[in-house]
Structure formats: structure tokens, C-alpha cells
């Protein structure tokens, strides 16, 4: 431990703490811009400068470690001048078009400029190089707004091991770009949107579907149904000022109904269905000597990643569509039949914590209902934006229930939103189906937690099933390399593209930090715990769906509607 003095306040901190962390303990919030708790601190923006006694120059608080006895000043005339100059230089290359920007109100640069007032910007504005790109239909870029904080580059390379973008050029003319300034759709970007989440400004954003959803809602001819992903209920409250980790399932349903959706359904229902299909697929592969380990397939960022970087491993992927796509296919077949509605008049909207879901819904093969199965995908942020525009404050509404039949789900479905959840849900069902015995300990703790890669074993009638869970694509890459080199003796692997799983997807409310991830995860486990049914195969509507429509899991009809195929898409190919 080291003793340091911050603005006269003495604090005890670990030896490897940074000045920024020490100041926090002394209840001093040093302003930052390029710093993010998930990422290596690089001191690029120079906003967090402080004075250290005995040092001739100002130090960047985010990446300077403390020393025992260090005396730090976090505000002084020299610090104020340095911060103002740094901020003024950043602002001088930022288009002052805040009212036109999607980040108006959530922009970190705006907040910083409001905290550190610089007055009139004395340097002439010069636009940054690079042109806007929305070609992916999922993640958009506008380099003119970039502040060169490099968070996007770091998250893409360090946490996701994708490296679609990097710093190009140097000095005053440096910019963030893809190789050879190609479109994001051509450089192996997986559309996970972690860069969108980390971007402090509007240089990275989701390609919006808000307008097409408003158009559908205002068309009396169209029957508009909405599905909500598991992770949305644990986060959308943050958009309305509720603390992270507030579970707002019923209030979210009420808000969506008030927005004008004809039916409010739950992706958790098709998460349960995914468990039925994927669980039986796993049992089949175990029994018939199929390709193992089997890899989960519900995270579209992960699907893009394996198609780009490990095309030879595609046979390992479960053929199950993601819950979003299973929902779309069923909404325009099973539900349309049951409700007596012409499927061509049904418009399926998803509310997802994800940007990659937009590209998944647009995949050409996702038309098994005879129509585009999912018509529009809103991120959690976009859904909240629509509610706010319509004057709906979710936090003030009384909870309401999902509509029948596609709104009925179990606790197994809701934990899809957290890393390890699909694995846990699958094991709950696979155990009971294979052994015929009741699973007493429903909480399968070894697959829970935020460790990058986790392992578990479950005994199934004499067979020890070895499972692994990875989240964040750099961790997925480690497991894939193990499979390639023949060192992976797992049967079943769950992969989520985003760290923490869907709960910190690229479409979730700003910001996402390790603490916020923990809180959202707790909320989802709490939702599971509170539900009367916690195993997918116990869902009565799932049972009815098989009786009335699909036959049995992995039936011909199930394969037609609920399963898919993948395409090798080598990077830069």
C-alpha cells in the first residue's frame, strides 16, 4: 500500500494504483476523455493532467502510478490552462453540430466542455479526413466527429482481437480508419458495436431503424409485433434515470404497448426454444459422434467472427438460428396462423442490446417464413429514444404482462443475456432430458461470473460433459486456437461476442463499465430466480408449439424454420 495526498487529503491506495484511482478515493473526480476503465490507459487526450510535487511537468492521471508519499494537486492555474488548451484543440477539430448529432445529451465531449468552459474557440476549424460509412447497415462511422481517443481501436484490437480499424497517418493529420479506407463491411468488422459503446462522441453509432419502425407503427394496415431480448430489461431503465441493475421488465412492456405495438412478445420465449433445439442437437452430436465441441450460435457478432477468422471451424457451430431469428420465423408462420393474420401484413420489430442483430436480420438467408423474418431491429438506446419522443417515461409506468402466446418464458430464457447463461440454460434441459432425473441444483455456478474463459463439467448418465464459456472475442479466439491445435477436449462451448454477454452489447445504454456489467448480470439472475419456471422444456407454450406446429425438437419443420447455415467469409478475401 502507498500513502498519497490528493489536494491535502490523505488516502491509502495499492502500490500499482494510478493517480486517477487515488483521486477517486479522495472523492476528487479528475476529468477524462480518452480513459475507459475497460481499456489500457494511454494518456492521449491530455485532459486528466495533474501536478505532482517535485515533478517539473504535469502528469496524466490516468496512466501515472502513485508512489508512496506522493503529493498531488488536481486543480491549479497551470492545470486549468493545460486542460483548457487541450480541450480547445480537440474542439477546434470537432464539428460544432451537437443538435444534429445522435449523441446530443450523451456525448462525453459535450459534458467535458460543459464542465471545463473554454469560451470561444480561437483555432480555425479544420475537418478531419475520412468520409462517413453506413455500408454495414449495423455500425456507422463518421470520422469527421472523431476526437482520436483511440478507445475504438483498442477495444477492437485488445478486447475483440478483430482489428478492423487502426490509427492511420500521424500527428495533426492522424485519423482512425480501416485498411485502405475500405467500407466496414469489407474489413472483417463483426458489427459487435463495442466501439460504438466506447466512443465518447458520435463518430461511431448504430445505423438507425427508428424511422422505419415509426412508419410501420403509423400504418393502420400493418400488424406490428415487438420482441425484447433478455438483456434489454436489465438496462433500459438506465435511459430513464434508474440505477444500473434495475429490472424493468413489466414497465418496458407497458412502455412498448403505449408506443403502439399491437403485440408485445418476448425473445426469452424463443431463447427457451433455442435451448430445446440446441440441447437436442447437442444430445444428437454426443450420441451419433457428430462434430464436437459444439459451439453456440446466438451471438451474431460471434457468428461474423468465426465466418471471418475461423471459417474451417464452421461445422462446429450449432445450426440453430439465434432467438431473434427463431422469433421472426415463428411470428410470420405459427403466430400468423394462430391469430389469423396475413403474414405479409405482419411487421416484426426486435429490441436488442446489440448492433450486430441489425446485420443478422438483414442476412439474405433469414427468410424462412417466406418473408424477411425480422423487419427492423432497434437497439435498447433507439427503443428508449422512441419512448422519450412519445413522452413515455418508463420509470413511471405500472408493470404490465407480455402478450400471449409468444410472451411466455422461463428463467432459462432470461439468463441468455449474461455470459454463461446459454450454457446454464442448456445444461438444465440437457441434464433432465438425458437422465430423466430432476435437476436439484438449478443454479450451475461454475459457468457464472466474469472470468474471460470458464469451464465446467456435468455428469450425464456416465458421460462427463465438459463445457467452456468465453466472452469477448479475444477470449473466443483463444478457445478457437485450442480447437485448431487439437487441445480442446470440450463437448460444448458458449461464446458471446461482447464482454459480459449481451448485457453489455453494443446497443446498450451509455456507458458500460465493469461495475455496470455486474449490476446488469445480477438483475438477470434475479429475474431467473423469481420466475416460477426455470427450465426451458417446462415452458407450457413451448410444449404447445411442438404439439401444434413443430412436432418434436429438430423435426423437419423445426429445421426448415429454426435452423440455418453459415458461409466462410475470410477477412480481406
Amino acid at each position: 500500500m502507498a500513502t498519497v495526498i490528493v489536494d491535502g487529503i490523505q488516502v491509502e491506495v495499492p502500490d500499482n494504483a494510478t493517480i486517477l484511482e487515488a483521486a477517486k478515493l479522495a472523492k476528487k473526480e479528475i476529468p477524462t476523455l480518452c480513459y475507459h476503465p475497460d481499456l489500457p490507459a494511454i494518456g492521449a487526450c491530455r485532459i486528466c493532467v495533474v501536478e505532482v510535487e517535485g515533478e517539473p511537468l504535469l502528469k496524466t492521471a490516468c496512466n501515472t502510478n502513485v508512489r508512496d508519499g506522493m503529493r498531488i494537486r488536481t486543480i491549479s492555474p497551470a492545470i486549468r490552462e493545460a486542460r483548457q488548451t487541450a480541450l480547445e484543440l480537440i474542439l477546434s477539430r470537432h464539428p460544432q453540430k451537437c443538435n444534429e448529432c445522435v449523441r446530443n445529451g450523451t456525448c462525453e465531449l459535450q459534458a467535458l466542455a460543459s464542465r471545463i468552459h473554454v469560451g470561444e474557440i480561437s483555432f480555425p476549424y479544420r475537418q478531419r479526413p475520412g468520409s462517413p460509412d453506413v455500408s454495414s447497415g449495423a455500425v456507422g462511422r463518421d470520422p469527421s466527429k472523431c476526437v482520436l481517443c483511440r478507445r475504438c481501436v483498442q477495444v477492437c484490437e485488445v478486447i475483440q482481437s478483430v482489428g478492423a480499424i487502426a490509427v492511420q497517418g500521424r500527428g495533426y493529420d492522424a485519423w482512425i480508419d480501416t485498411p485502405f479506407s475500405r467500407a466496414l463491411s469489407e474489413v472483417g468488422c463483426v458489427y459487435c458495436g463495442q466501439c460504438v459503446d466506447r466512443c465518447p462522441v458520435g463518430a461511431l453509432f448504430e445505423v438507425s431503424h427508428v424511422e422505419r419502425v415509426w412508419r410501420a407503427l403509423q400504418d393502420p394496415e400493418i400488424h406490428v409485433v415487438v420482441q425484447t431480448a433478455p438483456a434489454v430489461r436489465a438496462a433500459i431503465g438506465e435511459e430513464f434515470g434508474l440505477p444500473p441493475g434495475t429490472l424493468v421488465t413489466g414497465q418496458m412492456v407497458a412502455a412498448l404497448r403505449r408506443l403502439g405495438f399491437d403485440k408485445v412478445f418476448d425473445t426469452d420465449f424463443t431463447a427457451d426454444l433455442t435451448i430445446m433445439e440446441e440441447g437436442h442437437e447437442l444430445i444428437g452430436r454426443l450420441r451419433d459422434g457428430g462434430v464436437l465441441p459444439m459451439l453456440t450460435s446466438c451471438s451474431p457478432g460471434w457468428i461474423n467472427f468465426i465466418e471471418h477468422f475461423y471459417p474451417d471451424l464452421l461445422p462446429h457451430l450449432s445450426s440453430c438460428k439465434s432467438p431473434q431469428q427463431m422469433f421472426g420465423a415463428l411470428a410470420k408462420t405459427y403466430y400468423a396462423q394462430k391469430a389469423g393474420i396475413d403474414p405479409s401484413k405482419i411487421f416484426v420489430v426486435s429490441v436488442m442490446p446489440c448492433t450486430a442483430k441489425k446485420a443478422e436480420a438483414a442476412r439474405p438467408e433469414m427468410k424462412d417464413s417466406g418473408y424477411q423474418d425480422v423487419d427492423a431491429v432497434l437497439t435498447t438506446r433507439e427503443a428508449a429514444r422512441m419512448m422519450k419522443e412519445a413522452g413515455i417515461d418508463l420509470s413511471k409506468l405500472e408493470p404490465e404482462d407480455y402478450d400471449l402466446p409468444l410472451g411466455v418464458s422461463t428463467g432459462a430464457g432470461v439468463i441468455f443475456g449474461v455470459t454463461g447463461g446459454v450454457m446454464e440454460a442448456a445444461l438444465r434441459t440437457v441434464y433432465e432430458v438425458v437422465t430423466g432425473k430432476k435437476l436439484e441444483k438449478i443454479d450451475i455456478l461454475p459457468v457464472r461470473g466474469m472470468e474471460g474463459i470458464r469451464e465446467a463439467e456435468i455428469e450425464l448418465d456416465g458421460l462427463r460433459v465438459r463445457a467452456a464459456v468465453a466472452h469477448g472475442l479475444a477470449n473466443a479466439r483463444k478457445l478457437m486456437d485450442k480447437i485448431v491445435s487439437g487441445q480442446a477436449d470440450y463437448h460444448f462451448i458458449e461464446i458471446m461476442a461482447c464482454p459480459g454477454g449481451c448485457l453489455s452489447g453494443g446497443g446498450q445504454p451509455y456507458p458500460t463499465t465493469p461495475e455496470i456489467r455486474q449490476k446488469r448480470a445480477q438483475a438477470l439472475y434475479e429475474a431467473d430466480r423469481l420466475l416460477p419456471l426455470r427450465k426451458s422444456h417446462e415452458n407450457p407454450v413451448i410444449q404447445e408449439l411442438y404439439r401444434e406446429f413443430l412436432g418434436k425438437p429438430n423435426s423437419h419443420k423445426a429445421h426448415e424454420l429454426l435452423h440455418t447455415h453459415y458461409t466462410p467469409k475470410p477477412v480481406y478475401g
Binding site: G163, V167, Q168, G169, T178, P179, V187, Y572
Partner: protein
């Protein structure tokens, strides 16, 4: 598919040396060449492109036969580099970063060439030129053109 001929053990070569070598062989660092290096080093293409755009000695676009590296730093500037550069731009009809229509010259700005004593300076191919004036610079370029004509004659 582009190839890069490497005599030394590949793993020992720093990426920057690989890029220089590849440029010597192929004239410039095309997407195809960088893809080969990406596959070989495991570095993302974006990062290699970042290195190639960081160093002025590396280029991601095809270049003319002669590369003019014109010094843009302060010592040259205070000794009249601006007027010299204007003369070169108007003589060649290209802006810095561009290549002449006949493919002979590519004009580029560079950081200090280390010849501040004889500023303003430029480098054409491997040759260094100092104490430049607008007239002297044009005469040098005319020499290159004349040499080129006689080689083809």
C-alpha cells in the same frame, strides 16, 4: 498472390523491415502485399496500413520512377523552402502526394533530411540536393527529364 522474397529467418525480422523490403520488391505497399504480411505476422491489416501511413518512407500507392522527398521542416522553411516548393508544384503540375502524368515524378513532403546546413533540401531517389532556389530546383528536375529522354532515344 504477391510474394515477398525473404532470405533471413522471417520471425526475426521486425514488421517495419518487412514492409521496407516488400516495398523495394513491389514498388509500393498494395493491399495484396500487406495481406501477405498480415498473414505472415498475425498483425491486423489495419495496423500494417497504420504503419505504412505513419512513415513517409513507406507508401501505399504506386509511385513515379523518381520520388521527390521535399523537406517541410522549420530550418528549410525559414530559408525559403516555400517558394522552392511552389516552383516545383507549378513546374510538375502536381500537388504534394501526387504523381506526374508521365509517371516520372512523385512529389512528397518529408520530415527533416538531416541536411539543415544546406537548407532548403530535397531528396530524389537516393540523391540529395541542398541550397535550393526555385531556379536550381527546376534545373535539377529538367536534368532528370533530359536524362530520361536520352535513355529512350
Amino acid at each position: 498472390m504477391a510474394t515477398i522474397d525473404l532470405k533471413t529467418a522471417e520471425a526475426e525480422i521486425p514488421v517495419i523491415e518487412l514492409l521496407k523490403k516488400a516495398q523495394e520488391e513491389h514498388g509500393y505497399l498494395s493491399p495484396e502485399v500487406l495481406k501477405v504480411i498480415a498473414a505472415r505476422t498475425g498483425q491486423p491489416l489495419s495496423k500494417l496500413y497504420g504503419i505504412a501511413t505513419f512513415y513517409s518512407l513507406l507508401t501505399t500507392r504506386p509511385k513515379g520512377k523518381y520520388r521527390i522527398l521535399f523537406c517541410k521542416n522549420a530550418p528549410c522553411h525559414v530559408r525559403g523552402a516555400k517558394r522552392v516548393l511552389e516552383a516545383i508544384v507549378s513546374y510538375l503540375g502536381v500537388e504534394p502526394g501526387e504523381t506526374t502524368k508521365d509517371g516520372l515524378f512523385t512529389l512528397e513532403l518529408t520530415s527533416c533530411l538531416g541536411l539543415c546546413a544546406v537548407a532548403p533540401t530535397m531528396m530524389i531517389g537516393e540523391d540529395l540536393y541542398g541550397n535550393l532556389t526555385p531556379q536550381k530546383a527546376i534545373a535539377i528536375l529538367e536534368d532528370y527529364r533530359a536524362r530520361e529522354r536520352s535513355e529512350h532515344a
